[in-house]
């Protein structure tokens, strides 16, 4: 009977303190997308982010990086999610990340998708809906 709501964790890691974009996205996902959004705030460790993803049983994790540490952060977050036994949860990204690094991270399997600056909330919502109906993420036990 009941359709699952989509539940998303949005995060910023370490000392990267630019969170205007992610707040706007959080609000957009909730208001336009009707999703449950948890934003863990600034200055989180990757361990805290992964632990929260596990405990909140989210369908997706969105990590935004603006300070150039993306090549380090995404693979480590993915490792931590795998270690917590929630490696199936897709990670998407955003922020200031060069195109070739985006391709590289996707090829590594560290992220499912990375959105460039200026991506509309609407297209992110559309992508999320498509990814989750494609059977990734939120498996039902």
């Amino acid at each position: 009977m009941n359709k699952r709501a989509i539940k998303i964790l949005l995060a910023k890691a370490g000392m990267d303190n630019q969170d205007k974009e992610i707040r706007i996205l959080a609000r957009g996902l909730r208001e336009q997308g009707g999703m449950d959004v948890i934003y863990t705030g600034l200055y989180c460790s990757l361990e805290e982010i992964a632990a929260t993803a596990l405990r909140e049983a989210v369908d997706l994790v969105g990590l935004f990086v603006h300070n150039g540490s993306h090549l380090d952060l995404y693979p480590r977050l993915h490792e931590l999610l795998v270690a917590q036994n929630v490696g199936h949860v897709p990670v998407f990204g955003g922020g200031l990340i060069p195109e070739r690094h985006r391709q590289e991270l996707k090829a590594q399997g560290a992220v499912t998708e990375i959105f460039g600056p200026g991506t509309s909330t609407g297209s992110i919502i559309a992508w999320i809906n498509q990814v989750l109906t494609a059977g990734e993420g939120g498996e039902i036990v």
Binding site: R27, Y39, V141
Partner: protein
């Protein structure tokens, strides 16, 4: 589904998270896992914390968790948002302060999205408490925002109810008189360094003296120092912790726990009946498109809801 309950009993975090998620989303069949764990619940001390947004509940909860961890107790925290689980920025204050416990194996911190039908919130909270209880958590804190009927229902799941106030919220006391007064076991005046703390303390103390409590428990009114003074803050929260434990002992010593439990159990059974009897009827009416037709009839004033409901009741009485 079959083994989910067993895994929760073994303390598996991932299974507990998934089960609570199923409760949030009201997935049919979730009761199977709940059936598995139910008989193993009832060992945790459940504490409800309520108060207006901005009263500092999260910071307080965070410090309480720390106090209990110092006393070697495991803790579950259930943060309930009747509005939404959005916890970013200034929108709903920041629960993110509690993240320092995120990785602690002795703490299970979880927010609860509250969608769904009337009474659904209270039901989900009660069930999520059972999940944490079955995991073996000693103490479970339920934190909820605001003041209203919904809050009172949620708080009904707790053994010990704490109402958090801060100086400078004039309407707060009025709201309390309207409902929360009856359910508070402990009052906390938070941010006690602010102007108006003394007069608020006086006002609440006066109210408390006029009230009659179960078994004669004297409701304490406790002052909690500003978080800007970490040492004082920690000390005053430790006192709160002591009082909470005093209250639990008081309940046990005076056999009040079993009375509360009885009420709670009756309320839960009520909710279960609601789900078992009314939900299938509603689903049936929805699926057949009959619900829409009935609403149309009501809109046109062709019939009144009482007669219509009685007709539906007669029709389903022997079916369910």
């Amino acid at each position: 589904m079959k083994e989910l309950g067993q895994k929760v009993l073994a303390g598996n975090v991932r299974s507990a998270s998934r089960l609570i998620r199923n409760l949030e989303d009201q997935i049919p069949g979730t009761h199977v896992a709940m059936q598995q764990i139910f008989t193993k619940t009832g060992n945790a001390h459940v504490i409800g914390i309520t108060g207006a947004p901005g009263a500092g509940k999260s910071t307080l909860t965070d410090e309480l968790v720390y106090s209990w961890r110092q006393r070697n107790k495991t803790v579950g925290v259930l943060a309930v948002d009747p509005t939404s689980p959005f916890t970013g920025g200034a929108l709903l204050g920041d629960r993110i302060r509690m993240l320092r416990h995120a990785e602690d194996k002795g703490v299970f911190l979880r927010s609860l999205a509250t969608r769904g039908s009337m009474g659904g919130i209270s039901k989900a909270v009660g069930e999520a408490i059972h999940v944490m209880d079955a995991m073996g958590k000693d103490t479970i804190i339920v934190e909820t925002v605001g003041v209203g009927q919904q809050e009172v229902e949620i708080i009904n799941h707790a053994h010990t109810v704490i109402v958090v106030l801060v100086p400078g919220m004039g309407d707060e006391i009025q709201a309390l008189k309207a409902g929360l007064m009856e359910i508070a076991d402990i009052f906390i005046i938070n941010k006690a360094d602010r102007d108006g703390a003394a007069s608020l303390y006086k006002e609440v103390s006066n109210m408390v003296h006029m009230s009659v409590t179960e078994g004669g428990w004297e409701i304490p009114v406790l002052l909690v120092e500003s978080v800007q003074e970490p040492k004082k803050f920690a000390e005053s929260v430790s006192v709160v912790c002591d009082k909470i434990e005093d209250h639990y002992r008081f309940l046990m010593d005076n056999n009040l726990l079993s009375e509360r439990l009885r009420r709670k159990t009756a309320a839960e059974f009520n909710e279960a009946l609601w789900g078992a009897i009314l939900q299938p009827v509603l689903n049936d009416l929805d699926a057949g498109g009959e619900m829409e037709k009935m609403v149309d009839q009501l809109l046109k004033k062709e019939i009144d809801p009482y007669t219509l409901a009685a007709e539906v009741a007669v029709r389903y009485k022997n079916k369910v």
